[in-house]
């Protein structure tokens, strides 16, 4: 059986610096998988390698059996992998609604493409965005901007959602609200890969986890079975 998204023996260099070494991860439809690790462990590099922003030195990225290694980000998104980037990356010149519609634009979809993702459905998911849809995207609070970034990614009608540090800088209640919505989407068959520094949050929302340390996977397993001490060792490279 082929995995939905599979990263095989991925190695990535920035010049001479080794950012990722022999990474193997996979994710299936209907699960949340967490990639945890400290700052600089290589989590964001992994997202960049999958989405084509940083071409890997060796290894491959397979999506639904297709080889996406070295593809342009725009092709990766069109194939069905959407990214909620770190720092949200909302465009100030665009209104909230236009920022959301951008997802449909980049995926090459239109009103009549028959995508299950419509503005109505987004506004059902995040009603606050409908009230503020005419405002500039960056006039909203951090949590609301994160909702825009997630909505924009959903509008590409993805099979896999890559979320880079979505809890960063947000209040715990907002984080819970965002993850509650993601859990609902996963029940409908979406695969969500979350990249988090916040270890406990990540373990509590995911079914499986990979812990990264210095560009390598130091530990992986089922989140429910995770032994906190072992994870902390794998996270920091030593006991704390």
């Amino acid at each position: 059986m082929t995995n939905l998204l599979q990263v095989c023996d991925l190695t990535l260099h920035y010049g001479k610096f080794l950012a990722l070494k022999d990474i193997n991860i996979h994710i299936e439809a209907g699960e949340i998988v967490a990639v945890i690790g400290a700052n600089g462990a290589g989590k964001s590099s992994l997202i960049k390698a999958i989405t084509g922003l940083a071409p890997p030195s060796s290894g491959s990225v397979l999506f639904e059996g297709k080889n996406l290694t070295n593809s342009q980000t725009s092709s990766v998104v069109r194939a069905g992998i959407a990214v909620v980037p770190e720092g949200r990356r909302i465009f100030p010149s665009l209104s909230v609604e236009e920022n959301i519609l951008m997802g449909r634009d980049v995926a090459g979809l239109t009103d009549n493409s028959g995508s299950p993702w419509t503005l109505e459905r987004i506004y059902d998911l995040f009603p606050v965005l409908e009230e503020k849809r005419k405002l500039s995207g960056t006039q909203l609070s951090g949590g609301q901007q994160q909702m825009i970034a997630i909505s924009r990614a959903l509008m590409t009608n993805p099979r896999v959602l890559l979320c880079d540090e979505i809890s960063l800088g947000l209040a715990p209640t907002i984080i819970n609200q965002l993850y509650d919505q993601l859990r609902l989407l996963v029940k409908e068959g979406l695969a969500v890969l979350i990249v988090e520094q916040a270890m406990r949050t990540a373990l509590s929302v995911s079914s499986r986890y990979y812990c990264m340390l210095e560009g390598q996977i130091s530990l992986s397993g089922l989140s429910s079975d995770a032994d906190e001490e072992a994870v902390i060792r794998a996270y920091f490279g030593r006991s704390v």
């Binding site: 959407a82 465009f91 239109t110």
Partner: protein
């Protein structure tokens, strides 16, 4: 009184032509951060294309507009794909130097092919037709057509930029190119389409310029200057502002010409400097956050 009104009306109509020169420049700088020094020379190239079409196929310059638009759009796409795609855009300097090089190549190639004599495209009787807009105020049909074209073109460009997915992507790229690429916008494709769109505006302005007055291989920099002044007076990122900028310079030209023929262009530049002193970011600058 009539003379003041006449100056304003004739100047405004002339401003429509300046605005046409400037629309493409406003787009290319606003979106792609390319300071296209060769903008005026592109306009001149189009004028010579119109000349060749008229001499070889006998095409009336206004009839040839659709054909030239298609050719220009293709040229824009190709220029971006084979040239500007490879120019690093970390800062505006490299692309400015490339455009500077293009300018030298264009001017000298045209000089080699057509000589330095002024040329003009003849549009026939329409050039001298005029109507009485107000009592004792006559306006030429051609300047009216040019002004109307500028307004229609702005309406179309506004619709493209603010009502289509392509326009949304243009604005996103212009906000932050790196972020645009990160969320999956095909930025090279957006650049090519945008450059094609810029060349469409150049095609229209080039043919109308060639019908309105004389041109030589060296006319480009003067056109570029008018275009830059219109864009800066209007404020970056505002197409209607660009039209107003064009009108301001147009009125200054006509008013200057009333005083002395040699004062015409100088008056335009003087008004530009004055406005720059009091409104350094233009009259209708896009609000920055």
């Amino acid at each position: 009184m009539t003379i003041i009104l006449d100056t304003i009306i004739q100047g405004s109509l002339l401003g429509g032509l300046f605005a046409l020169y400037a629309l493409g420049l406003s787009l290319i700088f606003g979106v792609m951060r390319i300071v296209n020094i060769a903008h005026g020379d592109f306009i001149v190239v189009i004028a010579y294309v119109g000349l060749v079409l008229m001499q070889t196929l006998g095409l009336h310059p206004l009839i040839s507009i659709p054909l030239v638009i298609v050719m220009a759009a293709a040229l824009g796409w190709i220029l971006q794909a084979v040239l500007f795609d490879f120019v690093p855009n970390i800062d505006p300097l490299p692309s400015m130097l490339v455009a500077f090089g293009l300018q030298i190549i264009i001017q000298n190639t045209l000089l080699l092919g057509f000589g330095a004599d002024p040329k003009k495209l003849s549009a026939g009787p329409i050039e001298v037709m005029s109507i009485e807009l107000l009592p004792d105020i006559f306006v030429g049909v051609l300047p009216l057509i040019i002004f109307a074209t500028a307004i229609i073109l702005i309406l179309i460009l506004q619709a493209i930029i603010y009502r289509t997915g392509f326009g949304r992507q243009i604005r996103a790229v212009s906000d932050n190119e790196e972020n645009a690429r990160m969320i999956g916008i095909d930025t090279p494709k957006i650049f090519r389409k945008a450059f094609a769109l810029v060349l469409v505006t150049i095609a229209i302005s080039g043919l109308l310029m060639a019908v309105k007055g004389n041109f030589t291989p060296a006319s480009g920099p003067t056109l570029l200057l008018f275009a830059f002044e219109a864009v800066i007076i209007g404020g970056m990122g505002s197409l209607w502002g660009t039209l107003v900028g064009g009108i301001v310079i147009g009125i200054a030209h006509v008013a200057g010409a009333q005083i002395d023929a040699g004062f015409q262009t100088l008056a335009g530049h003087a008004v530009f400097l004055l406005i720059l002193v009091f409104y350094p970011s233009g009259l209708f600058a896009k609000q920055e956050d």
